[in-house]
């Protein structure tokens, strides 16, 4: 299959890449760009472990073709830190023990980050809704929901 040239920004960096039309955004991120923080759980859009932001919107990167990222902005878990400072959502996940095995964590954090970007003060139902597509088998979600609430407070939500 003939490769197509695409250009995009990922975690603030400009990238030009030749990708096969059938390559998924997830494959491109993990295998071409070696950003392995984004995880592949199911590969068919059921689990949310591969969640990244595409132009600010959380997507299952396993269901998006790499070519669709052309001229767009991608944010992955590796791009959340500013300089050496963790984002408040990351800090809150650490402080509130909102993770165990950590495999869902990057996707979970990206969905939570996207929620707080569009809604600084979400209520509990909105938090649950926002992460409903991110499965976690370890924590039972209770501490994750708490961590998002507290992150919301720390960024001045309420």
């Amino acid at each position: 299959m003939e490769k197509k040239e695409i250009s995009f920004r990922i975690n603030g960096e400009e990238v030009v890449l030749h990708v096969s039309p059938n390559r998924t955004l997830l494959e491109m991120i993990r295998e071409d760009l070696k950003l392995t923080g984004t995880k592949e759980g199911c590969g068919i859009g059921d689990c949310g472990a591969c969640t990244v932001l595409l132009d600010g919107v959380p997507v299952n990167s396993c269901l998006v073709l790499a070519v669709e990222a052309d001229k767009k902005e991608i944010l992955t878990i590796e791009g959340l830190k500013e300089n050496d400072k963790l984002h408040p959502v990351q800090e809150s996940f650490i402080e509130n023990t909102a993770l165990q095995c950590g495999f869902c964590t990057p996707g979970m954090i990206m969905s939570s980050y996207a929620l707080l970007k569009r809604n600084k003060a979400p209520n509990e139902e909105e938090i649950r809704e926002a992460i409903a597509g991110n499965l976690c088998r370890c924590t039972g979600y209770v501490k994750i929901i708490e961590a998002v609430k507290r992150a919301s407070s720390s960024i001045g939500g309420k």
Partner: protein, 767 residues
């Protein structure tokens, strides 16, 4: 930071952040699938499209011609090697050689330059099968004339286990009420999100393998046996693990053996990552079981006897199944006084995927049956569900009829706390809101910690002191996500009086770390914790001797606290730990300060045949309340609240203990009302998370955890197990709540909306 006072400690009892948290929230934590080595090939496995068939021929000639294919192997390449948990039941080949015994069993494997090429080659491998009649129901498989799955077990009984204590017939004759019921537990899977994966590289006459395992040393032994290698030629390195929950990641999978073989043949590193569909059709599941339970009770609620017969679907191979059978019976004598108990467990071969361990291993089946039946009988006798439990609950110290010894027990205290809760007090006040039926249920259960397995039970620790006071900690224990790395560091930090950040835990590398069977049976904190504590004390002893000499005092008068080493009652006479380390390391030319420790528990014999003795070093007790809202029209259950009163002895990290309980309770909720594989003649019809529904953030209740503190002398700092208790307590508590809402007892898991709606209709109570 959450704190619970469990003694005069600086770091224990504190919910300090997990030591792996930063790597995990930044995406830096590397899992098996994240590892790449230059020159790496991809392995893909061809799987059987039939549940039971003879393999007549495998033709790989066309597949071999595909450009980019470097090697193809079939079952015969493993020369008859079989693996399994016990020598007598090693019946599973890495790839099927004579016949396939379940749908999805591996028959051939390809190594190619990329995944697409490997997949293309799979399609060109031609396997000729002669289909055999299959059997998919364990009770059918027991019948005369049923298809035989393994020649060495002509009656299809993979394993049986029997216990008989006291006199059940006498017990039943003393009872005022005797009930017999049939219960069933569901066909469920662990549901970890990280698919099975490993990368192997054969060089220098040995192999290095990075694998997603919660028990990397099982793989270590399997690979040594399969490839006839001495253990020092097998190096298993443990990356971060994306969840385990027993079974699959305790054991080896076909891909593990295949990548090693393919690397040996090609001389290149070879990697596999299963798709989630492969995991869900071929990985170890929990046994689904039928339990015929008989219980005798006096009018006042006293249980006089219990007899259980369990028939478990073992699937196609034995794996760890004998231990499962043992666990279905050996602690049925907890947490209630039971003077007479008989248990007969049969693990039956079928042409279904292999059943094995899962969190709450074995106990979850029989405890579910016993809990529900006990409450059914209490209801018949007009007794309160909590009162009947309090009536029968054991108190420590206690020895069961099969010589299980309980030295601490917080069950009564837990039940009393639940009884005082608003959730229980509000029970029955509002039974119905329009078409919503409301119910609150309860359960009281026990689980073992510090599992003692047949064969080896090693847990050791090595601490190497660096001259700047930092410490390197080698352990064979694996943190599959439960948080044990953090707790183990808290223990060492506490002993040495230095902050946990000063200690670096090395993930398992079998070339350096001491052998350890890994994460299962809630054993890590109990046993690796004991080893860590002893290693720290050993290091401390060596340092104290040097310090005592410096200050001309006795070694036992040296104190390690707050980052300092000083003479007891004279903090002035002391040095920073860092300085003390430097002096010690320089006190001889090239002096090495190494602390060593190992767990000394588990030496006394355990009667695996009769079910006598302690399967663990201690026992946790969990009582749980669950509130549900049942839609009388659709049968849909919304679980709104849970309270878990959990006696883990002393929570060394309360935040981690809570999180373990919450996660396990939700996994138990899944088993109670959502999760079930749908099967058609051995084929899994829903091998994905869209159709096999695990709880999402929208499904989970508010979950409160009450720590019940008890004193257990058998475990380090009194810490017993957390989480296997809550996966056992959750299903009966949910089913009890559904009964409270609907008035109907459901005896088969999962209790789906369909079952509820139909039962309500039958009862004429549907609206």
């Amino acid at each position: 930071m959450e704190e619970i006072f469990i003694g005069d400690f600086e770091f224990l009892g504190k919910g300090i952040p997990r030591v792996d948290a930063k790597d995990k929230v930044t995406g830096q934590a590397k899992y098996a699938a994240d590892i790449e080595i230059p020159g790496m090939l991809w392995c893909k496995i061809l799987r059987s499209p039939l549940p039971h068939a003879k393999i007549l021929n495998i033709d790989i000639t066309r597949a071999k011609r595909v450009i980019g294919v470097k090697a193809i192997i079939t079952g015969k390449d493993f020369q008859g090697f079989r693996w399994g948990w016990m020598p007598a039941t090693r019946d599973e080949p890495p790839l099927a050689d004579d016949k396939v015994r379940y749908y999805g069993e591996g028959v051939a494997a390809v190594a190619a330059v990329d995944e697409d090429t490997a997949e293309e080659a799979l399609e060109l491998i031609k396997v000729d099968y002669e289909e055999l009649p299959g059997v998919f129901d364990p009770e059918e498989a027991l019948k005369e004339g049923a298809p035989v799955i393994h020649e060495y077990r002509p009656n299809n009984i993979s394993w049986e286990f029997h216990m008989d204590f006291g006199d059940v017939e006498k017990g039943f004759s003393e009872a005022d009420l005797v009930r017999e019921d049939r219960f069933a537990t569901g066909r469920v899977i662990q549901g970890f999100l990280e698919p099975c994966s490993a990368i192997a590289y054969w060089e220098g006459g040995g192999v290095t393998i990075w694998a997603a395992k919660q028990s990397p040393y099982f793989l270590y032994r399997h690979i040594a046996q399969c490839f006839k290698l001495p253990l020092n030629k097998v190096r298993v390195i443990q990356p971060f693990v994306g969840g385990g929950f027993g079974g699959t990641k305790n054991d080896s999978v076909a891909g593990d053996f295949c990548v090693v073989m393919l690397s040996k043949i090609t001389g290149r590193p070879v990697k596999f990552i299963y798709t989630m569909e492969e995991v869900m059709i071929s990985a170890r599941r929990r046994h689904n079981a039928i339990i015929y339970n008989k219980m005798g009770m006096k009018k006042d609620g006293t249980i006089t006897a219990m007899q259980s017969k369990l028939i478990a679907d073992g699937g196609a191979y034995t794996a760890i199944g004998p231990l499962t059978m043992y666990l279905t019976g050996c602690i049925s004598t907890l947490p209630y006084k039971l003077p007479n108990f008989k248990h007969d467990a049969y693990r039956v071969f079928t042409n279904n995927p292999v059943s094995a361990a899962m969190r709450g291993h074995g106990v979850t089946h029989t405890r579910f049956a016993a809990e529900i039946q006990m409450e059914m009988m209490a209801e018949e006798l007009g007794l309160d569900p909590i009162e009947v439990r309090l009536k029968n609950a054991i108190e420590a110290p206690h020895e069961t009829v099969n010589k299980v010894t309980v030295l601490s027990c917080g069950l009564k205290e837990g039940l009393l706390k639940l009884k005082e809760s608003n959730l229980w007090k509000e029970r029955g006040k509002e039974k119905r809101k329009n078409h919503i039926l409301i119910g609150v249920g309860v359960s009281g259960t026990a689980y073992l910690g510090g599992a003692r397995q047949r064969g080896h039970q090693a847990a050791a620790a090595v601490l190497r002191l660096c001259e700047d006071g930092s410490i390197e900690y080698l352990t064979g224990a694996t943190d599959a996500g439960q948080g044990s790395d953090t707790v183990l560091l808290q223990i060492i930090a506490e002993e040495l009086g230095v902050p946990p950040e000063q200690i670096d835990i090395q993930r398992v590398d079998s070339a350096y770390t001491p052998v350890d069977p890994g994460t299962y049976g809630s054993r890590v904190t109990a046993l690796a914790g004991e080893a860590a504590m002893k290693a720290a004390r050993d290091l401390k002893r060596q340092l104290a001797e040097i310090a005592a000499k410096e200050w001309n005092v006795k070694p036992e008068d040296i104190v390690f606290k707050n980052g300092k080493v000083f003479v007891k009652d004279n903090e002035e006479k002391g040095l920073p730990f860092r300085k003390m380390a430097q002096i010690a390391c320089y006190s001889g030319s090239g002096r090495v300060l190494v602390g060593r420790g190992h767990s000394e528990y588990g030496i006394e014999p355990l009667d695996f045949e009769k079910g006598i003795g302690n399967a663990g070093t201690s026992y946790s007790f969990t009582s749980q309340l669950t509130r549900v809202e049942v839609d009388a029209e659709t049968g849909f259950v919304k679980c709104t609240d849970m309270i878990i009163a959990h006696d883990c002895g002393k929570p060394l990290n309360p935040a981690i203990v809570e999180s373990q309980n919450q996660g396990a309770a939700v996994q138990g909720l899944g088993q109670a009302i959502y999760e079930e594989f749908k099967m058609d003649k051995g084929k899994t019809l829903n091998p994905n998370f869209a159709d096999y529904k695990i709880p999402t953030a929208l499904d989970v209740p508010n979950i409160g955890v009450i720590h019940i503190l008890t004193e257990d002398p058998n475990v380090p700092y009194g810490a017993k197990e957390a989480s296997e208790g809550a996966i056992v307590s959750s299903p009966p508590s949910v089913v009890s709540a559904i009964h409270d809402a609907t008035g109907i007892w459901f005896k088969e898991l999962p209790v789906t909306p369909e079952k509820i709606a139909l039962a309500l209709r039958e009862k004429g109570r549907g609206s």
